[in-house]
Structures are given as C-alpha cells and as structure tokens.
Symmetry: C2
Subunit: 152 residues, 2 copies
C-alpha cells in the first residue's frame, strides 16, 4: 500500500474520539470562559454538587478518571475556594468533597453558560443526534475490554 493511499486517522476510534473531544472542548470552554471556569471544572463542580458529599473515589469512578488525576484537578478549585474536603468520620481513609458557598454561586453562574453551549450544540448538531451520541458514549464508557480469562 502506497503512503498516498493510506487511510487517514478517521479509522481509529480512539483518535476520532480525542479529536472530537478537542473540538467540543474548545467550544464549551469558549462559551464558559466568562465564568473563569473550564468546561471540565464546571463538570467536576456539578458532579460534586449532585453527589452527597461524595468521596474522591466515588467521583473518580463516575467520571472514569484516575484517582490521582482527580486529586490534581481538584487542586485549583480548592485553591480558588470553590471546593473543600474533609475526612469521613467513619473511615478516615476516605476524603469527602463538597462545594463551598462561593463554589455554589460559581456553579450557578457556570451552569447558565453551560446551558447556552449545550443549546447551541444541539441546535447545530441536532437534538436527536446529540441524544444518540451521548447514549453511544455512555455505552462505550460501560464496556469491558478485558479478555475473558481462560475458564478453569
């Protein structure tokens, strides 16, 4: 196969996913910029908000994110006073997370912008398509890629 006829990156599921994520991330970030939050941060604040003072591990699990990555991502939000953590009294290994009052205010502000971005996306991409896409992405996130171990 000559190099000139090689298929592009459109064949790689992972590459396409990342590429679309960059595109959409830029758009959502753009719209959210006035709040001073990135879309990822807004999403994280929201996840904390809807959780019941969730443990870090629980947040990481629902976002399918490495626990240490979550810790890093949380740092600027704690530094800026939007989030605070406290040890679970029943198990001091567990660190729980909650929004501060300012965090709640900031989340409200960010959610307004999020709605704008979300609406604009669905206007452009189509509401049905967006819904199907989210379902497909949720499905992927739930897949199990482990090879079944040889049954004993």
């Amino acid at each position: 196969m000559s190099k000139d006829t090689l298929p592009g990156l459109t064949l790689c599921n992972n590459a396409m996913l990342r590429r679309a994520a960059r595109k959409l991330g830029q758009f959502y970030d753009d719209v959210m910029a006035p709040s001073g939050l990135k879309a990822t941060q807004q999403g994280l604040l929201y996840q904390i908000h809807i959780g019941n003072e969730p443990a870090m591990g629980a947040i990481a699990a629902s976002l399918i994110m490495d626990l240490s990555a979550l810790g890093h991502t949380l740092k600027p939000l704690i530094r800026d006073g939007y989030v605070e953590t406290f040890a679970d009294p029943d198990d001091r290994r567990i660190k729980r997370v909650r929004l501060t009052p300012q965090g709640l205010v900031k989340l409200d502000e960010a959610m307004k912008l999020w709605h704008i971005a979300q609406q604009r996306f669905e206007d452009v991409a189509g509401k049905e398509q967006a819904e199907r896409l989210r379902a497909a992405l949720d499905h992927i996130a739930a897949l199990d890629f482990d090879l079944p171990p040889a049954a004993p």
Copy 2:
C-alpha cells in the same frame, strides 16, 4: 428540583465525550504500552507518516489541535529520535515534520499493537456501531458553532 433528583452528567455532550475518551484512551494506551508509545503519540506518528512531510500547521489542522499544543506534544518524539523537523525551503516560516528511520520502525511496531486494540474494541462494541460512532465524531469535528453574524 431537589439535588437528589438532579440529572447526572449524562446530559452534557462535552462531559460524556471526555469521559468516553478517558475510558478508550486508557484501553488503547494499555494495549500500546509494550511499544513505549501512548496512543496519542502513535496517532501523531501515523499522521506525520501519511502526510507528505506535513507542515506543523497542517498537522494541527487535521487533528483539530492547537498549534502550540502540537509543538509541545512533538517534543518528546523529537527527543526520542522518532521525528525530525526542517524548514520549508520556499517559506522559512513553515516547519515541516517527518519520521526518522527509527520513527518508522517504532510506528510499525506500534501499529501492530494498534490493530489489536482496534480489533478488540470492534469485537466488544460492534463493527457497525464503531463505524457509526466514528462517522458521528467526524461530523461533530466538522461542525461550525459560530453564531451567524448579523447579515448586513
């Protein structure tokens, strides 16, 4: 609306996209680990390979990636001797990129692993579904979110 009944993050197109990207990225990275390349690096090497000594701007455009981000991402690959750059003789602003011989060898090695990951993904997710997903993602990447300027 009570906090307990708030919808989860499954409603945000961007959050779902990032979440799926983390999941799939972890899987592809896992499979590619023996090559010492991350999936992103393999994708970048491939993109350089199929291009005709592409300019940095051209690569960034096809990957929908910030030009400076591409520059950063390229650094470890240059440091490890897989990629080299040279100024375009006709326009010295332009910097072109190509694989070194070792880069080509490494890409071959990585592509073998990529095929395994890709195959496994399509086994688990379904070949048809994967194809539809890639098409949907490509569609999103091509969208234009700009609000139409008020017609003069």
